[in-house]
């Protein structure tokens, strides 16, 4: 099962390696990983997407909680949290597809962030599914390269 794990850690060197080490020790793959400072400079939030057996994920989470530099661990369910990802794509359209790219961008509410004589750079945020659909549509229109941030998430307010 897919898990989105959000970990609040001390903003110190070596913490990321410690956390990633637990995955390598079990031969698990990290699908995406995003680390950045939080509202407090001394803390970082690490959002990690992985999939695996529930029992092992639970073990990993417990071990995260045991780490000295880890403050809080959340295993988010899709419905409980906001999940977003940012993607930048470079497209080299032909003269025929040039306007089509802009139309697609418009439909997906993507922004053009760079324009050159041969290419556009587009920026889009959204869920994983939305980004994947966007990429698939751009592919025949001359998609050159993409880069994504990996998922970030925030807990929804409880009702």
């Amino acid at each position: 099962m897919r898990h989105v794990i959000s970990i609040l850690v001390d903003n110190e060197p070596g913490v990321l390696a410690r956390i990633a080490g637990l995955f390598t020790a079990r031969g698990f793959n990290i699908e995406s990983l995003c680390v950045a400072e939080t509202e407090k400079q001394s803390l970082s939030r690490l959002t990690l997407v992985t999939s695996g057996d529930d029992w092992i994920i639970e073990q990993i989470i417990k071990r995260f909680e045991n780490m000295i530099n880890v403050i809080k661990v959340d295993d988010f369910k899709e419905s409980q949290s906001l999940q977003r990802e940012l993607l930048i794509a470079r497209v080299n359209p032909t003269s025929k597809t040039r306007s089509e790219v802009l139309r697609v961008a418009d439909i997906f509410r993507a922004n053009v962030v760079d324009v050159g004589s041969k290419s556009y750079a587009l920026e889009i945020t959204g869920s994983k599914d939305k980004l994947e659909a966007f990429v698939e549509i751009l592919r025949p229109l001359g998609l050159k390269e993409i880069n994504r941030t990996g998922l970030i998430s925030l807990k929804r307010e409880k009702n």
């Binding site: 070596g14 390696a17 080490g21 639970e58 073990q59 417990k62 780490m67 000295i68 880890v70």
Partner: protein, 510 residues
């Protein structure tokens, strides 16, 4: 404010934290510490070892035999990598050990400098925590925190990496009065709901059984456990790590392990509820179709996915304390049942003593020594659980590498134990193969003028790889030694050697 060198701060901090003994070996990047050592010699005793692995085992043995934290000091690179086996041993058995390593000066970190290794990276998976000190002024705090982390909660080894420029730098001595780490809880409080769940299941059960591990061992809880077993009249088993905990109880039915003795199998079969306290049960024995209550301080060892299990996440000693206050309950266990179990237990041990020569030697040796003797042994394949033939009267008297099964652990651990238990007799029993791992440490025992009996079981004399003659080997170290055949007269020789002061080695040919 008075300025101190980093190296002086190292000793000042340790002294303030109540440390009196450290084990170590000098080397390039920690030379400053050894430079200032003479002026602290009266406060802190340094024991010079011959190998860093042995130093770690000594600190580990020092800690196991007394409950005090064990301290190691060594230099970087090869010295630090040598300690890994010892650190891993302490980590597996949750022993509070502090490892101080030297490191290349901070500007050269990560440049493949002479004797450089990434200590933090290497020990990440075998320490409870590790830290690199970057400024001299931070050193006292780092040491205090390391000791605090190592010695609270589920205990474990902590490594502090000290670059050379930190040790030769100057700073004032500032140590926080109390340590609080935001992201670390040093104790786990007993949740009433979990405890009530346990109590309900306990009251409902007919034949409950207690299994104790190292987590349940403390001076206070040892007495309470004996009291609890007497009060409820229920049987208790221990893991190899807690052997000796139930020594004074008549409801002690020995060890539980993966190749369970018959008696523990019988008791397990009859019981309808297993209460595991401070014990890593699933890794020891397979208990399918049994209702289990698991009490552990570490939630990693609590399995909440299995249905029907009750987990109590707390310090085992606190749990025992609470259970001690409960009212009396009666269960279906009968005294004559116990008597049968007990008789079976004794006859089973006797049978094995007859069949297994090593078991016989272990049991004979054990009977020769006084009650409060610390036995240090190894845990190799051919010696699995021979410790149960020893007369171990306290959980601190059985020094063995349980989780890691480190060969060659027993002998250096015995040296360490003599420093924390100067009044007790200390015996190291190993096979020749295991003894060879750390036999160079004999010179340390001789230099330190400790009283130690080393027993080496030489079973490979007629074998393809006979190994050295341990008697002459010991003589070259200036250790009084003898060689005997495993026979009836063996006892007399051991008795004679027990009387001698200093280090003695008895080689027993099997």
């Amino acid at each position: 404010m008075k300025k101190f060198l980093g190296a002086e701060l190292f000793f000042e901090s340790l002294y303030k934290l109540g440390i009196k003994t450290i084990f170590g070996l000098p080397g390039g990047y920690v030379l400053k510490i050894y430079d200032v050592m003479p002026s602290y010699a009266k406060k802190i005793k340094h024991i010079l070892t011959r190998h860093e692995q042995a130093a770690t085992h000594m600190a580990d043995g020092f800690s196991r035999a007394s409950g005090l934290p064990g301290i190691i000091l060594c230099t970087s690179g090869p010295a630090a990598t040598n300690t890994i086996t010892g650190i891993s041993t302490a980590y597996m058995d949750s022993i509070p050990v502090l490892v101080f390593t030297g490191q290349v000066p901070t500007p050269f970190l990560g440049s493949d400098a002479f004797q450089e290794a990434d200590h933090i990276g290497i020990t990440r998976t075998c320490t409870k925590h590790n830290t690199l000190v970057r400024k001299t002024i931070d050193l006292p705090k780092a040491i205090a925190e390391a000791l605090y982390i190592s010695n609270t909660g589920r205990k474990g080894p902590v490594l502090v990496d000290m670059p050379k420029d930190v040790l030769i730098g100057e700073s004032s001595f500032k140590m926080p009065k109390s340590i609080k780490i935001k992201s670390y809880e040093d104790s786990v409080n007993l949740q009433k709901k979990e405890y009530d769940n346990f109590l309900a299941a306990f009251k409902k059960s007919n034949r409950p059984l207690f299994i104790f591990g190292r987590g349940a061992c403390s001076e206070k809880s040892q007495k309470q456990i004996t009291k609890i077993l007497n009060k409820y009249k229920v049987p208790g088993l221990t893991s190899i790590m807690a052997l000796g905990l139930l020594h004074d109880s008549k409801y002690n039915f020995g060890l539980i392990d993966e190749n369970c003795s018959k008696i523990s199998k019988d008791i397990l079969k009859k019981s309808d509820l297993v209460i595991s306290v401070g014990c890593d049960l699933p890794k020891i024995v397979n208990l399918k179709n049994k209702k289990i209550i698991n009490v552990n301080i570490d939630k990693v060892d609590l399995d909440s996915t299995k249905e029907g299990n009750i987990n109590v996440h707390t310090d085992s000693c606190e749990f025992i304390n609470k259970l001690d206050d409960e009212q009396k309950l009666s269960f279906l266990w009968k005294e004559d049942e116990f008597k049968k179990f007990h008789d079976n237990h004794i006859s089973e041990l006797n049978k094995e003593i007859k069949l297994n020569i090593k078991a016989k030697i272990f049991s004979e040796i054990s009977n020769l020594f006084p009650k409060d003797t610390v036995f240090c042994s190894d845990f190799s394949y051919e010696e699995v659980n021979l410790q149960r033939f020893l007369n171990i009267s306290d959980y601190r008297n059985n020094l063995i590498s349980g989780g890691n099964g480190t060969p060659g652990y027993g002998f250096p651990a015995a040296i360490g134990a003599t420093f924390s238990r100067p009044k007790s007799k200390v015996v190291s029993i190993s096979s020749g193969k295991n003894f060879q791992f750390n036999m160079q440490e004999m010179i340390v025992a001789v230099e330190q003028k400790i009283n130690l009996t080393i027993i080496v079981l030489n079973d490979s004399i007629n074998n393809k790889y006979p190994g050295p003659n341990y008697k002459t080997l010991a003589e070259s170290f200036n250790v009084r030694s003898t060689r005997v055949k495993a026979s009836v007269s063996m006892g007399n020789t051991i008795k004679k050697f027990m009387g001698y002061k200093g280090v003695t080695l008895i080689e027993i040919l099997i």
